[in-house]
Structure formats: C-alpha cells, structure tokens
Amino acid sequence: MENSMSQMNRPATSPSPVVFLLFLALLAVLVSNAAGQTPPKSPQNIIVIKQMHFDPPSLNVKAGDVVEWKNEDIFSHTVTASDGTFDSGLIAPGSSWQTTITKTGDIAYHCRPHPNMTAHLIVQPLVGAEQHEQAGAQSTETSQASLRWRPPTKPEEFHPILVDFTAALLPLAFLSDLLGRLFRKQGLHTAGLWMMVYEAIITPFTSIAGWWWRNSEAGQLPARLIVVHEWLGTAAAVLFILLAVWRWGFHKRTITPSWTYLIAVFIALLALVYQGSLGGAMVFGQ
C-alpha cells in the first residue's frame, strides 16, 4: 500500500521540482537585481568640501540615507571614517563621492592627507528618528491610547498583523507534514495541507499591505533594505501559492507529500526568516 503510493506519486511530482527550481532561480535573479541596484534617490544630504573644511562640519542624517561630498576645493581630499566604516579614496577637485550610511550613531570622519580636516555625521536610526520628531505632538495621545483597541486603519498596522499569520503558518505547515511523515499520521498531513493553503491565501494580503506601507513612507526607508524586502516579499507570496498548488496535488493522489516538497518548503522557510530579519532591521534600526 505504502509502496504503491510512493510509486504513484513519483512520475506525477517530477515536473513540480523543476517548476520550483525555475522559480528559485527567478527569485535569485530578482533579489540580486534588487540588491545590486543603486537607489535612484537623489541625495539631499550634501556636504561641500571647500577651503580645507567640511561644510557643514556636523550633519544629522538617518540610517539608510545617501550622503554626498562635493569637493569644491583646489586640493584632493578623502572622506575617511575614523572607525573604518567608509573611505572615499582621493576625491579630485570638482568631483564628488557618495555613500549610503547604514551604521547609526556619531560617526567621526577626516581627510587622510589633511588630518586637521575633521567632521562628523550623526546618524539616527530610522524609526527612532521619526518617533522623536512626532514625540512632542503625540506623546499624550499615545500614552492614553496605548491599551485601548482600535481597528487597524494604517498600512503600518496591517502589515505587522498579517506578517504574524504568514510567519506562523509556514513553519507549522512544514512541521505538520514533517511529523506526519515521521509518525505516519494522516491527521497531521491534513493539517499541513490546510495551513499551506491558508498561507497562500493570506500572504498576498501581507505583501499588498507591505507595498502600501512603503508607498506611504516614500523615501523614509533604508533604500537597499526596502528594495530587497519588497521584491522578496512579492516573490514569497507567489511562491507560497505555487507550493500550495503543489501540496494540493499530493492530496488528490495520496496523503503524503514527497521529501522534495518538504525540502522546498524548508528553503521557503529560510527565505521567510531572512525576509523577517530585513523587516526587523528596518523597523528597529541596526
């Protein structure tokens, strides 16, 4: 009985891993494209190097901001972080250099040929900075309203709620099917099937809420992180639907999903963990 089942599903499952692998390749291309892309955001943080000075000598920026140094002096200078996080190399007169600042805190930098040229960036974590700006206006309201439930209306409320479902259902779907195979329990497989289906249904909404949040936030999010996060999230939504369809196929023929399917779900799980860490990095800074 068991034997005939596994024989039955062998020819039927062979196209699915191919589809899955193709999909993984597509995902890898998407992610690497997104990661390699320099954000088109024009830097509003410009520091002019003039007459042996960095102007302004101290600048407040947010994590993920692009900062540009323009050398308007007659000498070549460098922009060298004292802790080694960035070094421009020589910037010739008339040219400029830019970098994305990810490290938070007070970053002192100097010019290597001219150690008397010193300045610093004060980098605030993204959300911390925004909370700080709004703190004055909203402090009383938030302290009173914090425990009272209100229906979610904003994308920054929807996305985290939906993320909870996406994050919980996938590992449970995986675990149920894994344990089902190990202990040969049909009930666990049924649970695994339905949780994968729920995962496929709910994740597109999670993804949509994420895009909505990103659009309402405009340029406030760390450029590199958000590009990877938004495309990986969209890819995950599509991937989960394919996995659910694949899983449904097993259900029609036999109760037990193949190991290939389980490995595929596990890889998807790893991608989801990475995705979650990116989201966390954006919300809580580094």
């Binding site: 007659i74 000498f75 070549s76 007169p93 290597r112 040929p113 001219h114």
Partner: protein, 179 residues
C-alpha cells in the same frame, strides 16, 4: 641624531625667514617669489622621495605633496597674473633654496627606513617653518588684500601637511626597528 639635524636645519630656515622681520619687509613680488620657491622645493623633495622610497605610506604622502603644492603653485600663479604681479627673487628665497640643496644631498646618502624617517621628519620641520613664515611675515607684510587672503587660505593646507607628516614620523618609528 637625524631628528636633531633636521631640527637644526629647520631652525636655520626659521632664522632665514625670520631675518625678514628685521630686514626690509618683502614686497608683494618678493612674497610671491618666496611662496612659489617654497612650493617648488616641496614638490622636488617629494619627487626625490618617490624615487627612493618603497614604503606605501611615504609614497602616498609624497604624491599628496606633489598634488597639493602643484595646486597651490597654480593658484598663486593665477592670482599673480590677475594682479599683474611678477614674482621676484629675494635673499630669503635664495636661502630656502640653499637649505633645500643641503637637505637633498643628505637624503641622497640615505636608503630604506632611514631615508623615510629623515624625509618625514624634514617635512614636519619644513612645513612648520613655512607656516611660521607665512603667519609672522608674509601675511602681515602682503600689501595686496587678495594676496593676503590667498596666503591666509593656504595656511590650513600647510597645517594639514604638517600633521600628516607628524603621523608619518610616528608610524615609521612604530614598526621600523625590525626591518
């Protein structure tokens, strides 16, 4: 010992430039002559260093001296042309050249680490001398306001070179004895 020699040389240069204060104040064409002589000396010294050194730090420093002093020289040339000032030589400029010649002779006899150390400590002393001359004599004596402000503008870059040379001296002292 070498440090002592370069200190003495440095002091000699201070005396050479300091004597200006007591002698007749230099004219604007003479000031331009002194500044350009000082620039050319440092460029020549850096070219010598590039020929003789193998230390990447010393090479970087020498390249910066060539680049910065060439830029300074050009900006002074442009300003002088604009103001219609033709550079003139003076006893101070001659003494600077004389001392540079002595230093070159000395550097020519040295090799490796000892060359690097002598070059670096000479650059500290040399920039200190030029800064002192600029602040005590050349800037106060400059008649033309644009020339005066150009000299004031050059002070920070000389200060930067001096600090960089000091760092170089220290780092050459640090890991040097083993080589």
């Amino acid at each position: 010992m070498k440090k002592l020699v370069s200190t003495v040389l440095g002091m000699a240069m201070v005396c050479a430039l300091g004597s200006l204060a007591h002698a007749q104040a230099p004219t604007d064409p003479q000031i331009v002559g002194i500044v350009q002589t000082a620039n050319r000396i440092d460029i020549e010294m850096a070219r010598l260093a590039l020929k003789k050194t193998t230390d990447p730090q010393v090479k970087d420093f020498a390249n910066e001296m060539i680049s910065d002093h060439t830029a300074l020289e050009k900006s002074v040339n442009d300003l002088a042309a604009k103001l219609g000032v033709k550079e003139e030589t003076s006893s101070t400029a001659q003494q600077l050249k004389q001392q540079a010649l002595q230093e070159r002779r000395k550097l020519n006899t040295l090799k490796g680490k000892s060359f690097d150390r002598e070059y670096a400590s000479h650059e500290v002393a040399y920039h200190q001398t030029v800064i002192d001359a600029a602040t005590k004599t050349l800037i106060p004596d400059a008649q033309n306001a644009q020339l005066k402000s150009a000299l004031q503008g050059a002070a920070p870059v000389l200060q930067g070179h001096m600090q960089h040379a000091q760092q170089l001296v220290q780092s050459l002292q640090g890991g040097g004895s083993g080589f």
